[in-house]
């Protein structure tokens, strides 16, 4: 089992560990998932996401051209230090992985899901050929600092970061060593992700804790991202779902739709003809929780879909879920039924996100 450079610090803070994508990761600390969730929404939380892959590819204009053959994202108009959410897709537009591409001075940095990173590396490497240097870092940790107080806390140790806008990054120093910081995250809150050497990460996190931030486990990360309507790879998206079915069309650059990236033909067809299933938000009536794989029915008892993520939303204070339903059931407030422990429970289709995102996009904080 792999461990991150922060493992001993997690232990010191009484983490309960789970095995996740081959890593022993903290699911929660002593105060529990709801307390950690609320700390992130109201103050500041630190997430060890070092299990995720940090892929670096060196190159110039030629590399941009080549990557555009792999990803459905307009990389030509990306400025240095700008990030985009994107997908690695198969020929059928199924999603191998969802990822964040950042243009950096020497080429590109791509953040990959932990469970997919080795496979992604092989796919991207084989598509790129021999012309570009590509590496999956083993020396770097990745830490997310999320929540409304984070910008002021982190500014104290990395001056200048609070000027970054959402989905932009830059080179900074900690302990006189280079780090790379982006204003991003996966909680729906304003926040940062810091790529930092394994040798410096413990001191970095300890400093943030001493300033008032809090370690947060994967359990709260899951409830936070679910409330924000964000997909968990392997649950809400996988090789059998396309970005259009996942309601993530916005992440395919408009000027790239007619290009020739893997899956382009199916994407074009789905844009023209529509999709047969769509990811939607689902709110069960009452307090019962619908977990992944819960079957969804219409009022005539026909199965019309399946839940892909479901839990209790501590900020919305009710059960919440996401899942796929047949395309005639996607309207807001459509009444549906969930089969939970043999009983049919009523629920409604609802808008995503459940919790309004609070990203920093400039002079004002934009809630979208």
């Amino acid at each position: 089992m792999n461990k991150t450079a922060l493992y001993n610090l997690h232990k010191k803070f009484n983490a309960k560990f789970v095995s996740f994508a081959g890593y022993e990761m903290p699911i929660q600390y002593k105060d529990g998932i709801i307390a950690e969730h609320n700390l992130t929404r109201e103050k500041s939380g630190i997430f060890d996401v070092s299990h995720m892959g940090q892929l670096f590819i060196a190159g110039d204009v030629k590399l941009t051209d080549k990557l555009q053959d792999i990803f459905p994202t307009d990389l030509k108009n990306l400025s240095v230090n700008q990030s985009k959410y994107s997908f690695l897709m198969n020929e059928n537009a199924g999603i191998h992985d969802d990822l964040i591409i950042t243009k950096i001075s020497k080429g590109y940095m791509i953040i990959l899901n932990a469970a997919c990173k080795e496979k992604d590396f092989e796919i991207i490497k084989s598509k790129l050929g021999e012309d570009f240097k590509i590496s999956l870092s083993k020396d770097l940790s990745l830490v997310a600092v999320q929540g409304p107080d984070s910008k002021d806390l982190i500014e104290k140790i990395i001056p200048g970061v609070n000027k970054l806008k959402f989905m932009f990054g830059g080179d900074f120093k900690f302990n006189s060593n280079n780090i790379y910081v982006t204003r991003s995250g996966y909680t729906g809150e304003d926040g940062f992700e810091i790529s930092i050497n394994n040798n410096d990460v413990v001191k970095f996190v300890e400093t943030l804790i001493s300033l008032g931030s809090n370690l947060i486990g994967l359990g709260a990360r899951d409830t936070l991202r679910l409330e924000a309507g964000l997909c968990l790879y392997g649950n809400d998206i996988d090789e059998n779902t396309s970005p259009l079915e996942a309601n993530l069309k916005w992440a395919i650059s408009k000027n790239r739709i007619n290009s020739n990236f893997p899956g382009a033909k199916r994407i074009q067809r789905q844009i023209n003809e529509g999709v047969t299933k769509l990811r939607v938000g689902i709110k069960p009536d009452g307090k019962i929780i619908a977990r992944e794989s819960t079957k969804i029915f219409d009022e005539n008892n026909n199965q019309i879909g399946k839940i892909t993520s479901g839990s209790f939303g501590p900020s919305v204070k009710s059960p919440i879920a996401m899942g796929y339903v047949n395309n005639t059931y996607t309207k807001e407030n459509t009444k549906i039924f969930l089969e939970i422990r043999g009983k049919k429970v009523s629920a409604s289709v609802c808008k995503l996100p459940f919790y309004k995102k609070n990203y920093y996009k400039g002079d004002i904080n934009v809630r979208s």
């Binding site: 307090k287 019962i288 977990r291 209790f312």
Partner: protein
């Protein structure tokens, strides 16, 4: 009131006259984490020792609640259905789950004392 007894499924039971009060242990709530949903048996139903008699769900997962003793459900604690966080706050007190009219008082003999349960809980965690 009888001495409190414990099951291997982490329920506690006390008996007064022929009515048993049943809940889940503090140790169980610590394993479960934040409880956000509770489902109780219906009044008037009969439940059988070691059979399911409810469900609790935490932010992480759902778990069955078993009855450590057989009988007919005579009362349920609606306040934990309305506010499941009470189960984390006072599992072995106010947050009892249901009361049974006991079928066979001898069933209690197979359950553990507090001392035995604490030893069992510690060993099963390690």
């Amino acid at each position: 009131m009888s001495e409190v007894k414990f099951s291997k499924e982490h329920e506690w039971v006390t008996i007064k006259d022929d009515v048993a009060t049943i809940g889940i242990t503090k140790h169980a709530t610590e394993l479960l984490g934040d409880i956000v949903f509770a489902e109780l048996p219906e009044k008037g139903t009969s439940v059988t020792k070691d059979g399911t008699a409810g469900v609790v769900e935490s932010t992480k997962a759902a778990s069955d609640v078993y009855t450590p003793i057989s009988g007919e459900v005579v009362d349920t604690n609606q306040s934990i259905v309305d506010d499941p966080s009470k189960i984390n706050n006072d599992p072995e007190g106010d947050a009892w789950f249901f009361k049974l009219k006991v079928k066979d008082l001898n069933e209690i003999n197979s359950l553990m004392s507090r001392e035995e349960y604490e030893k069992f809980a510690k060993e099963s965690t390690n």
